[in-house]
């Protein structure tokens, strides 16, 4: 067992146990935090695979932004755990179907020989000065440009939809208008009065 193997098994053990923790933890905040740990360790595993751009982006996007908002919402909500557990048997068939599907997919990866995975050889390992960020950028904007733009448009539609769902005009609220505040002149607010000094009796 080499040094790299030990790192791999360490990260894998942390990943599997934290992923188990996500679905078994009683407190939703603990679940969310364990999910953060799972993301972080899988980023570590990706680093071992020399996919540093993907690994760092996983941390940047999922850990740094998505999970922060997720945690934000989970902490704000007053979640009733009993109500959540009530639906368990109702959703069990659906969940079991998903679990079977995932088990099948994992089997296809693990028993790769039967499914012809040998025809896709492992990529050669690259030197330290090889920037896979550059390579990824080149591929995205040349070969996969249509897929990339489609994804971009879908995201844009999602942004517009999210804003449209939450945007509502309310009347009678006292929100300040910044342009108005900036445009205020001194004479609107202060009145200089010239007044002779008064004598104290």
């Amino acid at each position: 067992m080499s040094f790299e193997d030990i790192i791999f098994y360490f990260f894998s053990a942390v990943l599997v146990s934290s992923a188990l923790g996500v679905i078994t933890a009683r407190n939703p905040v603990h679940s969310a935090l364990l999910l953060v740990l799972a993301f972080f360790t899988s980023a570590g595993l990706w680093l071992l695979l020399e996919a540093e751009f993907l690994a760092i982006t996983l941390v940047l996007v999922y850990v740094g932004a998505v999970m922060v908002l997720f945690l934000f919402v989970v902490m704000m909500l007053d979640i009733n755990l009993d109500q959540l557990r009530e639906g368990f048997w109702k959703w069990f068939p659906f969940g079991a179907f998903l679990a079977l599907l995932m088990a099948g997919e994992m089997a296809m990866v693990l028993m790769g020989k039967q499914f012809g995975a040998d025809e896709m050889p492992a990529p050669p390992s690259r030197g330290a000065d090889y920037s896979n960020t550059k390579e990824l950028g080149r591929l995205i904007y040349t070969e996969y440009v249509y897929a990339f733009e489609l994804a971009a448009v879908i995201l844009l539609v999602a942004i517009v939809a999210a804003i449209a769902l939450t945007l509502r005009r309310r009347t009678g609220i006292k929100s300040p208008d910044v342009a108005q505040q900036v445009a205020v002149k001194r004479k609107d607010r202060v009145r200089m009065v010239s007044m002779p000094s008064e004598k104290k009796e």
């Binding site: 540093e52 751009f53 941390v59 850990v63 922060v68 945690l71 902490m75 920037s131």
Partner: protein, 366 residues
């Protein structure tokens, strides 16, 4: 160095020797970065109290000295503060989630230190010279907010929770502007490596620094950095006038100090990054005799010190932002500015080579 490597090879065998040698070497290098950083943090608190004191016509700390030397009055203050903090009891509130309550300061502090791994101090001195350095720093700094959120939640206190919520919303919004400002930089330098970004600013004088073509981005980056570190005037997460002390209201002793250490090392990190990315890092302002004699590290230190002074200056000068003003500045002012600037840089990069190699543009677009 080779001798030590051989020693490890003899001790642990050919398979384990090099790996363990690498680990030992990196641990020593990390200590060599973290120790001066902690010292800098300690004396930054001292500088802050002195500078703000003078700005407000006070003297600031001037009592604690070393060995009774009178002209060192005040210089022992950070050490005395540290000793006091270590001695104090850490009180864990009765309703608090104990594990997360203790974990939160660690989670704030760890990313603040981890980000230093890729910072180049001079052309050769850098712990990890990785290709995706800028991305790594963005990823690490974006994790610091977890400590704040968890601290607020685990304290089981409404004030702490309000502070955590404010901080989370604020950091996430300013992260976007910060990221977009850095996108401009990496478009110009064609690289995510911080060393290459500095090398891209090399030239005859400070005109070549990215400060000049990306001046609005520098402002956006620096102000976002102030917001990201929860410093005044963006310190609504602490907001002592409305929510007592925000997310760390329940913390005492060393646990509280760790939050402070993280805040100040984040300040130094933001100042360092701004100097590396926009102010030419270790490059002298003029590539001429008296300036080039000064070592690059000193130039970097000078730039960092100036930006840190600005941090303290802001705190002494500006009143705290109102919460909706903070959100407006982040989303409605900074993000549109950065988007326009990205477009502008993109257009200039698509100019024909004859135009890009003509006088003003040739300074920055290689």
């Amino acid at each position: 160095m080779e001798h030590a490597q051989q020693l490890f090879g003899n001790l642990f065998g050919p398979e384990w020797g090099p790996a363990l040698f690498l680990v030992a070497k990196n641990v020593l290098l990390i200590v060599a970065i973290v120790l001066p950083l902690m010292l800098a943090v300690a004396y930054l608190t001292f500088a802050e109290r002195k500078i703000i004191g003078y700005m407000q016509l006070r003297v600031g700390p001037n009592r604690v000295t070393f060995f009774g030397i009178p002209w060192l009055g005040g210089w022992g203050q950070p050490i005395a503060d540290a000793v006091k903090a270590v001695m104090k009891e850490i009180i864990i509130p009765s309703g608090a989630n104990k594990f997360l309550f203790v974990l939160a300061p660690v989670l704030t502090f760890a990313p603040a230190l981890a980000a230093w791994a890729v910072v180049p101090f001079s052309p050769e001195v850098v712990l990890a010279d990785i290709n995706a350095g800028l991305l790594y720093i963005l990823a690490m700094t974006s994790m610091g907010v977890y400590g704040v959120i968890i601290a607020g939640w685990a304290s089981n206190s409404k004030y702490a929770f309000l502070g955590a919520m404010r901080s989370a919303a604020q950091v996430v919004s300013y992260e976007l502007a910060m990221g977009f400002a850095l996108v401009c930089v990496l478009m110009m330098s064609h690289s995510l490596n911080l060393g290459d970004i500095v090398r891209g600013q090399q030239g005859s004088s400070f005109i070549n620094w990215y400060l000049i073509p990306l001046f609005p981005m520098f402002l956006v980056y620096f102000i976002s950095g102030v917001a990201e570190t929860n410093r005044a005037p963006f310190d609504v997460a602490e907001g002592e006038s409305e929510i007592v002390a925000g997310f760390h209201v329940e913390y005492s002793g060393m646990a509280f100090t760790v939050f402070f250490l993280a805040e100040y090392s984040n300040m130094i990190l933001v100042a360092t990054l701004a100097s590396i990315i926009f102010l030419g890092g270790w490059l002298p302002p003029l590539d001429m005799a008296p300036f080039t004699l000064v070592p690059g590290f000193i130039w970097l230190l000078l730039k960092i010190s100036f930006l840190l002074f600005c941090f303290l200056w802001f705190r002494a000068t500006f009143p705290r932002y109102r919460y909706d003003q903070i959100m407006r500045l982040g989303w409605k002012v900074f993000i549109p500015i950065t988007l326009v600037w990205i477009l502008l840089i993109g257009v200039v990069m698509q100019f024909p080579p004859s135009m890009r190699n003509a006088f003003p543009l040739s300074l920055w677009f290689h």
